[in-house]
């Protein structure tokens, strides 16, 4: 009698543990952390990162390209071009940081002000005349 009860409990809860285990396996395998949940590899001023790319583009590209970085600087321009929300941070007199906001960043950029100091985290894609950051999130605290 006890043996039958034991078997039935194992059958009942065994299935539950298999389902939970499978769920955890799938979640850890396929869930990819977004930029928001990942700590930046570098935290650097807008002026400094522009200067590094300007002085040695190859070295700066190796260091920063496809890496999550946090950049702090003053807002030069706010743009809605191409139906994207873009914040351009002042770098030096001729170059800037183009920060394309992630669709999951819910901030209303029209509430931001030119010259406002900001911390922006995003994936650095490289340098043309400006440094390009995609999937950006704004640090508000």
């Amino acid at each position: 009698m006890t043996k039958i009860k034991y078997k039935s409990v194992v059958k009942k809860y065994g299935l539950f543990f298999i389902v939970v285990g499978l769920f955890i396996f799938l979640f850890t395998t396929f869930y990819k952390k977004g930029v928001k949940d990942v700590s930046p590899k570098f935290s650097v001023s807008a002026e400094n990162v522009v200067s590094q790319f300007h002085n040695n583009e190859i070295e700066a590209t190796e260091k920063y390209s496809n890496t999550i970085i946090e950049v702090y600087g003053r807002i030069k321009k706010i743009s809605h071009l191409n139906n994207r929300r873009t914040i351009i941070l002042q770098g030096n007199s001729s170059s800037a940081i183009i920060c394309d906001l992630d669709d999951a960043e819910y901030i209303n950029i029209d509430t931001l002000k030119i010259n406002q100091q900001l911390y922006i985290k995003g994936i650095c894609k490289g340098y043309l005349k400006d440094v390009v950051l995609l999937n950006c999130f704004i640090k508000t605290e």
Partner: protein
């Protein structure tokens, strides 16, 4: 070497006293479309740099290949790691010239002749573009086709049905006066 080439391209536009006729687009949009039997692929780059000089009728553009955004992460990964090899060839460039000057304020269609460099390979292209003048800017739009095989992009036979042999490229640039940017 790449930096030297880029400097050369952009120094063309910084010589002489024609600064007033130079216009810059820092957030140009380039989209490519691959229509294939298995799937359609679309990728968009919203941070393309371009400089336009109406005096010299010259135009240059440069874009970061890793800045193309795809609907699926796996497409982005294949594009950069397997096909374009973005670590080796991080940028695509275009250098060309307008066949005619800009004569009136209304929209006009022009032909641009130039050379496009992708994956380290340079090819001649003719691009039909529509130029529209607004009070603050010049807008250039247009489209052209590129043949994947021309750029030594190796696609494994098993995936050949997933990617079109000819890719449609669309562009949209808003140019502002250079000195105000």
């Amino acid at each position: 070497m790449n930096k030297l080439k880029l400097l050369l391209i952009f120094s063309i536009f910084s010589l002489g006293n024609s600064v007033a006729q130079q216009f810059i687009a820092r957030q140009g949009q380039v989209t490519f479309f691959s229509y294939a039997s298995v799937e359609n692929i679309e990728a968009k780059n919203n941070q393309v740099l371009s400089i336009l000089d109406f005096d010299k009728k010259e135009i240059a553009a440069s874009m970061l290949m890793r800045a193309f955004v795809f609907k699926k992460d796996l497409m982005h990964e294949h594009f950069n790691d397997s096909y374009i090899e973005s670590d080796l060839y991080p940028k695509a460039t275009f250098e060309g010239f307008l066949l005619e000057g800009l004569e009136n304020a209304g929209p006009q269609t022009q032909l641009i002749k130039g050379k496009v460099t992708i994956h380290g390979i340079t090819k001649d292209v003719d691009i039909k573009t529509t130029i529209q003048k607004t009070p603050e800017s010049y807008n250039l739009t247009g489209e052209f086709n590129l043949t994947v095989n021309d750029f030594n992009i190796k696609i494994p036979p098993i995936l050949s049905k997933n990617i079109a042999k000819i890719v449609l490229v669309k562009f949209n640039f808003q140019y502002l006066p250079h000195e105000n940017n």
